[in-house]
Structures are given as structure tokens and as C-alpha cells.
Amino acid sequence: MTLFAIRLSLQVAVTATCLIVPVGIFLAYLLARGKFRGKELLDVLLTLPLVLPPTVTGFYLVVVLGRNGVIGSPIHALTGWDIMFTWEAAVLASFIVAMPLMVKTARAAFESVDRQLLDVSATLGHSELTTLLRVLLPLSRKGLIAGASLAFARALGEFGATLMLAGNIPGKTSTAPLAIYNFASNGDWSAANGLVLLFTLISGLFLYIANRYSRRLI
């Protein structure tokens, strides 16, 4: 049970992070370089999961994606599938909750790149995409690594929104944080101890990585 929970947690966090990195970079680029109405509103919306109780975020996800949800019901009508109580639901919950850490860090990294370098790239005849790939991303690399590490650590530790959307089904959707809760509520403290220790170590390691890179941002 413990091993399954650890494996599931890693699987969920890795998948979520793999999605968060490209999407987060795209959103951060929009926020850092784009000029459009509602830009700061978008930033607020994307940051909300960072400060809302995870249960509130989870509630929204259920309302939108549940079998009777705004998006969930047409999907269910079309395919007979719904995301609730699947491991994909845990990925989605982690994705939404951990995304702000990537977006915030990447936006700050993008904005700290000297704008003149981007101007020079344009006057040398390069497209916005080339400038992004050859100038902006390489110069923001450390910030992006820091953001991805933070997001991974957060995704790994996701509890509340996961509980709401994926449920707590041992052997199916009980990730390690949920397993810890289950052990503790059953009074099985020794089983909980190992997981708690493991979590503390892994999360500490990723925070250390994030610090190492973000300190050298400038």
C-alpha cells in the first residue's frame, strides 16, 4: 500500500510537472511580454490556487469537470468517461495547484532579462519565436529550473484538491499524502512515520534545488 502510494505520487507529480513546464512557460511569456486587456486579471486567476484553500480549488474543478459539470457533462455524454476518481484527476488537481509557482517564477525570470537584448535580436532580423528560443529561454534557464522544482514539490504534496476530484481510493487514487492521512486516522503511526520522513526529505531536496537556482537568477 505504501509503495503503491509513493509510486502513484511520483507518477502524478512527474506527469503534472511535464505539463506545467510548457504551459507555464507559455503563460508566463504572455504575462511578461504580451500586451492585452485583462493581463493582470489573468495573473490573479492563475495565482488564486496558490492562496485558496485546496478544497475550494477542488470544488471548482468538480463543478467544471465532474460528471454534471460544465465541461465534464458533454465529455461524459460523448465518451462515457469522466475524470472523477481517476489518477488523471490527481494529475489535474496537482497541475492547477502547482501551476502558479511555475508561472510566477518564470514570469519574474523573463522580466529580469535585459529588454535591450530582445530588441537587438529583433533588429538583427530574428522572429519572436527565435528570440524566445535562443535568447529569452537560455537567459531564464535558472529561473525556469527553480520554477519547475517548486512546482514539482508542490504537485507531490498536493492533498486537498486531489481529495475533492480524485477521491481517496486506496490502491487507485490514494497518493502518498492521502495515504499518510489514512494511516494516521487508522492510528497506524509507524506506517505514517516512514512516509512523512520520506516526504520531508524529497520536498526539502527540491526546495534546495529551487533555492540554488533562484539565488543565481540575477
Binding site: L117, D119, V120, A122, T123, L124, G125, L139
Partner: protein, 287 residues
């Protein structure tokens, strides 16, 4: 062919309203910082959009508000060298220069980069990072990068201000070489009149977002148009001549200090110009 332009641009309380043209010569934009010189370069390069006006370089219209023409910065292919060179810190000298090329084959790239490295006396620095080379070398890398794509115009924004004096004099020589080798119009932004006198065919004097005088440097020196230009020249008493005219030396430094002091004391456009500096450093960009 040269360059001709009419530009209007309002930024906060600062208004740029200039109109001038130049042939295949070296023209200097001279004035206090905040007079709109660097802004003019950004507008020519297409890094910002004028409110109204027209920009034409080498016969090609790049911007014309009346005709609805606005060529993207990347399609204008104009060389620009910024004050602090803006070299890509994560690329070697060689890669920085090669970045100025677009879509040549690998062999051709190598040949062109090698040619520029030799022309700007950068041999042996191929693998060096920008952080490892001197100010003068950085400047030459920036020039090589700007020129390798054979732009129709080269713009230099206060290119010498970050350099020590001996290097500054060397760099003037490099600019003269660029002129004769590339045969393109050059626009040099500066607040140092000794630079104008040693390099420029013509000077366009900026003050508060307007052109207050144009002419050959010697002409402007001899007959400054009004007190404003006299103040800019740092003479205050007209052309009778203190050390500044003749010397590149300590007198020029003193002149620059006097100019800076006068700028600090200047009244009318001050807050607007300050606002402009802020805008330019934070940046509206429309690349």
C-alpha cells in the same frame, strides 16, 4: 540615398517632434540626455511606433502614418549598437557575431564570421564569453554583429560613453574604418561635442524633443544658433574659444561636466525629460 524622417511621438509630458534627412554620411545627433536622441533611434529601428510621421532609409519606406506603412523591426535590417553593447551574455564572441546572420549556409556563415572577426581585430577571441573581454572588444563585437548582415544604416547610441579615454580615441578610428569599408549612412548619438567634431560630417542639435540647429560641426561651433546651443557646447560665451574646441583632453571632460551641470540646472523640459528616461528604461516595445 541616405535617410529622411519626420517623427512625432508623445510620451507622458515629453513630446518629440523632429524632421531631418541625411545622405550617405555620418550624422551626429547631439544634445543633452533626455532630448529625444535615443528615442529617435528606437523609432527609426522600429522598436517603438511613432504617433505620426515617416521614416525612409535607402529609398525604402519603413514607416508612413499617412500611407499606413509600418515595417516590422526585424524586416528593417538596420544595424544598431547600444550604449552598453547588449551582447548576448550566454553566447561566445563568435556566436554573438553569427547571430547577426540570417539563413546563410554553415560554410558561408563561418567565412563571414571569420571575415568580421579579422576586420574588427577579434582573432583568438572566438570562444571567449562577453564577460571575459574588455570594453573596447565588446564594442567591436557589437559592431561586427550589427554589420555582418549588411544593414542599410548603422545607428550608434552613445557608443563611447562607457569606455576609457584612450580606448575611446581608438574606437573613433574604428568608426572611421567602418565608414569607408561599408559605405552606409551612420547615425551617431552623443552628448560630447568633441566626438561630433572628430567624426561627424553633419550635426543635428536636439533640445527638448526638437531640432534646434543642423550644419557642419565647425559651422555649429562657429555660429551656435542661440543661447541653448551655446549652453550645449559648454562654451556659454560663444565661439571665441576655450579649450574644448581644440582638445580631446581634460578640457573636453570639463566641458562634459559643465554640460552635465547645466543639464541638472536646466529648467523648462526637465520633468518631461525625466519621464522620458523612465519610459525608455522600462520600455514600451512593439517588436
Amino acid at each position: 540615398m541616405g535617410i529622411s524622417l519626420t517623427l512625432k511621438k508623445q510620451i507622458g509630458r515629453f513630446a518629440l517632434d523632429v524632421s531631418w534627412e541625411a545622405g550617405d554620411e555620418l550624422v551626429a545627433l547631439f544634445g543633452f540626455s533626455g532630448a529625444g536622441k535615443s528615442l529617435t533611434l528606437r523609432l527609426i529601428a522600429g522598436l517603438m511606433r511613432p504617433d505620426a510621421g515617416r521614416v525612409q532609409v535607402g529609398g525604402a519606406p519603413f514607416f508612413d502614418s499617412a500611407a499606413g506603412i509600418d515595417v516590422r523591426a526585424r524586416d528593417r535590417r538596420l544595424g544598431i549598437v547600444f550604449q552598453d553593447y547588449a551582447l548576448f551574455p550566454h553566447m561566445t564572441v563568435e556566436k554573438n557575431i553569427a547571430y547577426g546572420l540570417n539563413g546563410s549556409g554553415a560554410g558561408e556563415r563561418k567565412r563571414l564570421v571569420g571575415e568580421m572577426m579579422a576586420r574588427f581585430r577579434l582573432d583568438g577571441l572566438e570562444r571567449a564569453m562577453p564577460s571575459e573581454i574588455s570594453g573596447g572588444q565588446k564594442q567591436r563585437v557589437a559592431l561586427a554583429r550589427a554589420l555582418i548582415g549588411r544593414p542599410a544604416l548603422l545607428m550608434l547610441d552613445e557608443p563611447f560613453s562607457a569606455l576609457d579615454r584612450p580606448i575611446r580615441l581608438q574606437m573613433r578610428e574604428v568608426i572611421r574604418e567602418v565608414r569607408s569599408a561599408f559605405g552606409i549612412p551612420l547615425v551617431l548619438v552623443t552628448h560630447d561635442f568633441s566626438e561630433v567634431e572628430s567624426l561627424a560630417d553633419r550635426v543635428i542639435v536636439y533640445a527638448g524633443g526638437r531640432v534646434v540647429q543642423t550644419g557642419a560641426p565647425a559651422e555649429v561651433r562657429a555660429r551656435p544658433a542661440g543661447a541653448q546651443v551655446r549652453e550645449l557646447l559648454g562654451t556659454g560665451r560663444g565661439p571665441a574659444g576655450d579649450g574644448v574646441a581644440a582638445a580631446d583632453g581634460a578640457a573636453a571632460e570639463a566641458g562634459a561636466a559643465a554640460v552635465a551641470g547645466a543639464a541638472a540646472a536646466a529648467g523648462t523640459h526637465h520633468s518631461g525629460e525625466h519621464q522620458l528616461e523612465t519610459v525608455l528604461s522600462q520600455g514600451e516595445s512593439h517588436v
